[in-house]
C-alpha cells in the first residue's frame, strides 16, 4: 500500500516531468518569438542567443513592408472561408442521405467517396494541375479551393454523428410530418454540432497551413496564400540570414490561427473527444 507521502511525491515527480517535456517542446517557438522582438541591428551571436538589449516590434513592420502580407492574409481568409462554407453544405447533405435513407447503390457511392481518404488530393497534384489548367482557373484562389469542396472525411464524420441520433426522435419527427429538410435542421443537426465544430476547426487549420497545392496553382501575389508567400519571402535576396526578421514573418503567418486556437482550445479538444474521432 502506498503512503500518502509517496503518492504526493509521485504526483510532484509526474508534474515536473510533464512541465519539463512541455517546455522542451515549446523551445523552438519561444526562441523564434524572442528573436522576433530583438532589434534588427543586433545580430544573434554565440553566447547571447535569447534576448537583445531592448524589445521591439520593428521586425514585424519591416516584414509587413517587404512583402504584401496584407494581400496574403486576404487570400488565405478567402480560400479558407470558401472551402469551409461549401464543405459544410456538401458534407451535411451527403451525410444525411447516407444516414437517413436506404437506396440502391448506397454502399457503392459511400465507398467511392471514401476513396478520397485513401488517395489524398495532394498525391494527385499532377492530373489535378492539368484539370485546373483546362478549366482556366490557374492562378486564382478558386483553383486552390475547388478540389476540397467535397470531403470524404467530413461526410464520414457527419454520417457517424447522424447515426447516433436516437431513432425515436427521427420517428417522432416523421409522424409530425416533417419534410426531409426539417428533419435535418431540427432533429439531426442540433445533437451533431460538436462534430461539425470539430470538422470546421480541422478544415480551417488544414487549409490555412497547406503549402504544396497553392504553390503549384498560383503564381501571382493576387492569389498566393500566406504559406506560399512566406516561403517566397524567405527566398528573397535581401533577407539573407536576418533571423529576427524571418522569425517575425513566420509568426505573422501562424499568428491568427494560433489565436483562434487559444480562444477555442477547450472547445477544440472537447470536440475531438465528442466526435467519432476517438
Amino acid at each position: 500500500m502506498e503512503t500518502k507521502a509517496t503518492s504526493r511525491l509521485q504526483r510532484w515527480l509526474w508534474t515536473l516531468i510533464a512541465w519539463g517535456l512541455a517546455a522542451l517542446w515549446a523551445v523552438p517557438v519561444l526562441w523564434a518569438f524572442a528573436a522576433s522582438l530583438r532589434p534588427a541591428d543586433e545580430p544573434i551571436k554565440r553566447g547571447d542567443v535569447w534576448f537583445g538589449s531592448t524589445l521591439t516590434v520593428e521586425n514585424y513592420s519591416r516584414a509587413w513592408s517587404l512583402a504584401p502580407f496584407g494581400q496574403y492574409y486576404l487570400n488565405t481568409f478567402a480560400m479558407v472561408g470558401m472551402i469551409l462554407g461549401v464543405q459544410i453544405i456538401t458534407i451535411t447533405l451527403a451525410a444525411f442521405a447516407f444516414a437517413h435513407y436506404r437506396f440502391k447503390g448506397r454502399k457503392l457511392l459511400l465507398y467511392l467517396i471514401l476513396l478520397q481518404l485513401m488517395i489524398p488530393t495532394t498525391a494527385l497534384l499532377v492530373p489535378n494541375f492539368a484539370t485546373i489548367r483546362s478549366m482556366g482557373l490557374y492562378d486564382t484562389i478558386f483553383a486552390i479551393a475547388i478540389p476540397y469542396f467535397g470531403s470524404a472525411f467530413g461526410t464520414f464524420l457527419m454520417r457517424q454523428a447522424f447515426l447516433e441520433v436516437p431513432r425515436d426522435l427521427v420517428d417522432a419527427g416523421i409522424m409530425d410530418g416533417c419534410s426531409w429538410w426539417q428533419l435535418l435542421r431540427y432533429v439531426y443537426l442540433p445533437p451533431s454540432m460538436p462534430t461539425l465544430t470539430a470538422f470546421a476547426l480541422s478544415s480551417v487549420s488544414w487549409h490555412w497551413n497547406e503549402f504544396l497545392w497553392p504553390l503549384i496553382v498560383t503564381k501571382s501575389d493576387a492569389a498566393r496564400p500566406l504559406t506560399a508567400g512566406l516561403v517566397r519571402f524567405t527566398q528573397l535576396g535581401e533577407i539573407g540570414a536576418q533571423w529576427s526578421l524571418l522569425s517575425a514573418a513566420t509568426l505573422l503567418v501562424a499568428g491568427p490561427l494560433f489565436l483562434l486556437f487559444l480562444i477555442f482550445q477547450r472547445r477544440f479538444i472537447e470536440s475531438f473527444v465528442h466526435s467519432g474521432l476517438k
Binding site: W14, I17, A18, L21, A22, A23, W25, V27, P28, V29, W31, A32, R46, V49, T90, A94, H100, Y101, R102, F103, R106, L109, I113, M118, I119, T121, T122, A123, L124, V126, P127, I146, P147, Y148, F149, G150, A152, V170, S205, N209, F211, L212, I216, T227, L230, V231, T234, A241, W243, S247, T250, L251, F258, F261, Q265, I269, F272, V273, L277, K278
Partner: protein
C-alpha cells in the same frame, strides 16, 4: 424502422454535390494518371511535347534509375522512422497529461501547439534552430558533449534526419489528442478492479489500456502514414531535397519531375506508384487489425 427505404431521387440529389467534386478531383485524376503513365510526354523537349504511347517504359526506366531507387529508400526511412516514433511518444504524452497535474492546460498547449503551426512556419523556425554555430539546436547539443557536424540541413548524412526531426516534433502533439480522447473514454471501474487485484502500472497498460485503445491506434497509424507520404513542405524550406538528393522523398521527387523536369509521363508513373503504396498500406493495415480482432 426509421431508415427510409426509398425510390425517390432525394438521396441521390443530396449526395450529388459531394460526388461531383470527389469524382472530378479524386476518381478521374486517378484514372487519368494511370492512363498518362503509359505515354511519353515532356513539355520542355519540342519533339516529345505531344504524348506518344510507350507502354510501361516509364515504369521500367524508373526502377532502373538509381536516383529513383534512392528516393524510395529515403521515403521508407522517412515513413518508418517518423510514424512509429511519433505515435509512441504521442501515447506517452497522452498518458502523462491524462493525470492530475498542476497547470495541465499549459502542458497540453506546450505539446500540442506545433500542430497549429503551418509546416512551412515550423520548418522556418527549425531552419533558424538548426543554424550552425549559434542555432540553439547546436549550442545545446555541444553543451551536451556533441562534437559532430554542425550543419545538419547541409550534410548528406544528416539532412534526412533533420527533416524527420521536424515532422516528429510537429506531429506527436497532434496524435496525442486522439490518445487523450481514447484514454478519457476508458471505463474507470476496470482500472480500479485491476488495482485492487494488485496489477502493476505496466500490467494495466499491457492488458487493459493497449487492447482497449486498439481502434485509436489503427486510426492514428492510418492518418500518420498517409500524412507522412503527403507532407513535404518542410523539405521545400529546409533542404530542397538535397544535398544531392539525400532528403528527397517520393512526393518531393514527383513535384521535381513534373515542375522542374516537365516530364508529365514519368510524373504520372510516380503518381501511380505513390497511390499504390498508399493503398497497399491502408488496406493491409486494416486487414491486419481485423484479423487481430478475431483472434
Amino acid at each position: 424502422m426509421s431508415t427510409r427505404r426509398t425510390r425517390s431521387l432525394v438521396p441521390y440529389l443530396l449526395i450529388l454535390p459531394t460526388f461531383v467534386f470527389v469524382a472530378a478531383f479524386t476518381i478521374w485524376p486517378t484514372i487519368n494518371a494511370i492512363y498518362t503513365s503509359f505515354f511519353r510526354q515532356r513539355l520542355n523537349v519540342a519533339r516529345f511535347r505531344e504524348p506518344t504511347f510507350i507502354g510501361v517504359e516509364n515504369y521500367v526506366k524508373l526502377f532502373h534509375d538509381p536516383r529513383f531507387l534512392n528516393v524510395l529508400r529515403n521515403t521508407f526511412i522517412y515513413v518508418l522512422g517518423t510514424v512509429p516514433a511519433s505515435i509512441i511518444v504521442a501515447f506517452l504524452f497522452a498518458w502523462l497529461v491524462n493525470r492530475k497535474i498542476k497547470g495541465v492546460g499549459w502542458v497540453r498547449l506546450g505539446i500540442f501547439h506545433p500542430t497549429i503551426l503551418p509546416m512551412v512556419s515550423a520548418a522556418t523556425i527549425w531552419m533558424f534552430f538548426f543554424t550552425p554555430d549559434y542555432g540553439l539546436f547546436n549550442t545545446t547539443l555541444s553543451r551536451l558533449g556533441y562534437q559532430g557536424p554542425q550543419n545538419w540541413t547541409g550534410n548528406p548524412h544528416l539532412a534526412l534526419l533533420a527533416v524527420m526531426i521536424v515532422a516528429f516534433w510537429k506531429n506527436a502533439g497532434y496524435y496525442m489528442i486522439f490518445y487523450l480522447a481514447g484514454l478519457q473514454g476508458l471505463p474507470h471501474d476496470v482500472f480500479e478492479a485491476a488495482v485492487l487485484d494488485g496489477a502493476t502500472t505496466w500490467q494495466q497498460l499491457r492488458y487493459i489500456t493497449f487492447p482497449l485503445l486498439r481502434r485509436t491506434t489503427l486510426f492514428v497509424t492510418t492518418i500518420a502514414f498517409i500524412g507522412a507520404f503527403q507532407t513535404v513542405d518542410h523539405i521545400f524550406v529546409l533542404t530542397q531535397g538535397g544535398p544531392s538528393g539525400a532528403s528527397t522523398v517520393l512526393l518531393y521527387y514527383l513535384w521535381q519531375i513534373r515542375f522542374e523536369y516537365q516530364d508529365v509521363g514519368k510524373a504520372s508513373a510516380i503518381t501511380v506508384i505513390l497511390i499504390a503504396l498508399l493503398l497497399i498500406f491502408t488496406v493491409s493495415n486494416f486487414m491486419l487489425s481485423e484479423r487481430k480482432e478475431e483472434a
